[in-house]
């Protein structure tokens, strides 16, 4: 268990002054991941197109203290692969002495959808790369369009809730499980650091573990977006807690194929606790949409039971 004092004293590798929205979860996630590096460790970061990329590196300014690269939307994992391959060649020839960690950051649009092909390729080829998806459940950068990570029922500008359709019609893609199927050394699902919870440092622990493993690693981090979720910035971590407590977003990791659930709520809360605070689900609480909440609950239960089975909890 890391010490908060020690962590706070560590080098900040994504500095302030960038243009992410007030209350955005993404820079929080990035900084906690990067805090899992030792201060003297060097990193190369590749970034998919998205809020994080566009708001942290307005050329010629940058908020990043590490080497950073961005190419087109679909290519964070491919570009990271290329840099890592070049690094290995340089190491082999002895032209580079220093050790580097390779990290890719992408939002859910750039990871679940358009970037899935390059992510899959990088994981299969076995690059020594940690891919971190900050999943806020929609294309927030272009103004809240649905992605395959958007939860069922959510109102977005391309899955609008109205008389004909009650928001997004599909369940979210289970990306962590897709990554598990690549049989890579490490896959983890987690949430930002939330003080006072039993899983406060889950994100840091997982990032630290990922950095200690050679080969391809993947982490999926549920990340609040107050604009897209229609929530008050002050309550965003409460909403994330609800995602964990309702088992909508279980905290688990799969190391060399072995599942481990990192937190099992004593009492699994009903899914409405996760849905209710968020404006994007407001319409689901109309009487005519009750059945959708029921469907969402059933799907969450189904996925949770499956996870318990895979982790041999019962």
């Amino acid at each position: 268990m890391p010490n908060l004092k020690e962590l706070s004293a560590k080098k900040v590798r994504l500095t302030g002054g960038h243009r992410m929205c007030a209350g955005c979860g993404a820079p929080m996630v990035v900084n906690w991941v990067l805090k899992a590096l030792k201060d003297e460790q060097k990193a190369v970061i590749s970034n998919a197109t998205g809020c994080l990329e566009v708001s942290t590196c307005l050329y010629p300014y940058t908020a990043w203290k590490d080497s950073w690269v961005h190419t087109a939307f679909e290519n964070a994992a491919a570009t990271g692969s290329g840099v890592e391959a070049a690094y290995r060649a340089m190491k082999r020839k002895g032209t580079l002495k220093d050790d580097y960690k390779f990290i890719a950051f992408g939002g859910d649009g750039g990871t679940y959808d358009i970037g899935l092909q390059s992510l899959s390729g990088a994981m299969e080829r076995g690059h020594d790369l940690l891919y971190v998806c900050y999943d806020n459940g929609a294309y927030m950068n272009t103004g809240i369009q649905r992605s395959s990570a958007t939860p069922m029922g959510a109102d977005t500008t391309t899955s609008p809730a109205g008389k004909v359709k009650p928001g997004k019609q599909q369940y979210r893609k289970d990306l962590a499980e897709i990554m598990v199927s690549h049989h890579i050394p490490y896959v983890a699902q987690t949430v930002p650091v939330i003080p006072g919870t039993p899983y406060m440092f889950d994100l840091c622990n997982k990032a630290e573990k990922a950095f200690s493993i050679e080969g391809p690693k993947f982490m999926n981090v549920l990340t609040p977006c107050p604009r897209g979720w229609r929530i008050d910035t002050a309550t965003e971590l409460e909403v994330i807690k609800a995602a964990v407590d309702t088992c909508f977003w279980p905290l688990y990791e799969v190391e060399n194929g072995v599942y481990k659930i990192n937190y099992i709520p004593k009492e699994k809360k009903p899914i409405t606790e996760w849905l209710k605070p968020q404006g994007r689900f407001k319409h689901l609480f109309k009487p005519e949409n009750e059945h959708i909440i029921k469907m969402i609950q059933e799907e969450v239960d189904r996925r949770w039971e499956k996870l318990l089975y895979l982790a041999k909890v019962k």
Binding site: A72, N141, Q145, S148, T157, P160, G162
Partner: protein, 357 residues
């Protein structure tokens, strides 16, 4: 006359397509055209038509291939980097001779570029952005109203020639609001799709085959010759342009399209007060390029032509090929999302003409 409504360019694109009978729209978010997809996601389900958000631009254009192959009116829209991703699909659609409409709300490039208006996709649109010998009809509207009208034409032209048609607006046209009227349109006599669309056999013995693969060189060459013949027909029939203030003897003729052509009209009025007679050729189809417009003025134009663009001279060579060395062709452009002021353009004109009169 239909009612005039104030609409954002991108939303008007959606409505124009709906009015033109677009049955399927396949979109993907990218600034500055995302509102097209958002508008279609609200409107299409209400009228029993299809809106789908793809997982990438590549998927969206190939959904277009699928829907167009079944003979329905179909559209996709994107902005420059997204349209680059679509090029493979566009080449297949052109090769398989399928009708569809592609919207490109152009932003500055190359690479990630920016999100402000530009016209820097001229080459890509008019010279064949993907592989192979093919052409797109490319419309370049200069107002939201014209964009609406041209989208409706675009569906007809796509059906007549079984060819993809692109409507290319700059980011300014997509984002600005203007009054627009969705006019009652005369029903055009269009060729039936029944002899090629893949809609099931319905008792026929012969399958309809939609294809762009010809492994025998003789066959592929024959197919290409057929396409070229079609493109020659399009060049003969579909050229559109506007000539503004082009009567009598002229000092200079500006050539510009889209948003910039509106600025050029102001320049012409400004310079008239200073004694310069300046005309404007405004290509409405970028391909086929309005070569004949130049024939009308080339002998009456003292100092030649000035291409005014939101790009770095991409239209100049088409103008040179039209002028054929008879008069000088000059260039003034801004790029990267910069839009020139009338004064900037006027100064360039005065520089060429050796000052005001």
């Amino acid at each position: 006359m239909a009612e005039k409504v104030l609409m954002k360019g991108n939303e008007a694109i959606g409505e124009a397509a709906i009015q033109a009978g677009c049955q399927c729209f396949f979109g993907y978010p990218i600034t500055p055209q995302t509102e097209v997809a958002a508008y279609m996601s609200r409107r299409m389900p209400k009228i029993g038509r299809v809106f789908l958000q793809a997982e990438s631009e590549v998927a969206a254009i190939n959904m277009v291939y699928g829907a167009a192959g079944s003979g329905v009116r179909v559209m996709t829209s994107s902005s420059s980097p997204g349209v680059s991703l679509k090029q493979e699909g566009i080449s297949y659609i052109a090769g398989a001779e399928l009708p569809c409409v592609i919207i490109n709300i152009v932003r500055g490039g190359p690479g990630l570029g920016g999100i402000q208006p530009a016209q820097s996709d001229y080459f890509q649109a008019t010279k064949g952005g993907g592989h192979g010998d093919y052409r797109l009809v490319v419309y370049a509207p200069s107002s939201v109203q014209e964009m609406v009208d041209l989208i409706q034409d675009a569906f007809d032209v796509a059906d007549i020639y079984r060819n993809p048609v692109m409507v290319m607006g700059d980011g300014m046209l997509g984002q600005m609001m203007e009054p627009v009227e969705f006019k009652e349109r005369e029903a055009k006599q269009l060729p039936s799709k029944a002899d090629w669309a893949a809609t099931g056999l319905h008792g026929r013995k012969e399958h309809h085959v939609i294809n762009s693969l010809f492994l025998q060189p003789e066959e592929l060459e024959k197919h290409n010759e057929k396409l070229q013949k079609k493109y020659a027909e399009i060049e003969k029939n579909e050229v559109k342009y506007e000539m503004y203030n082009c009567d009598g003897d002229l000092d200079i003729v500006l050539v510009s399209y889209g948003t910039v052509s509106r600025i050029c009209k102001n320049v012409i009025k400004m310079l008239a007060k200073e004694g310069l007679k300046v005309g404007l050729i405004r290509p409405i189809t970028l391909w086929p390029f309005p070569k004949k417009a130049f024939e009308e003025v080339v002998d009456r134009t003292k100092y030649g032509f000035l291409s005014v663009e939101l790009s770095c001279g991409q239209m100049v060579e088409d103008i040179e090929l039209s002028v054929k060395g008879r008069k000088p062709v000059n260039f003034f452009g801004r790029s990267g999302g910069m839009v020139p002021s009338p004064t900037e353009i006027a100064n360039k004109v005065k520089e060429i003409a050796g000052g005001a009169r």
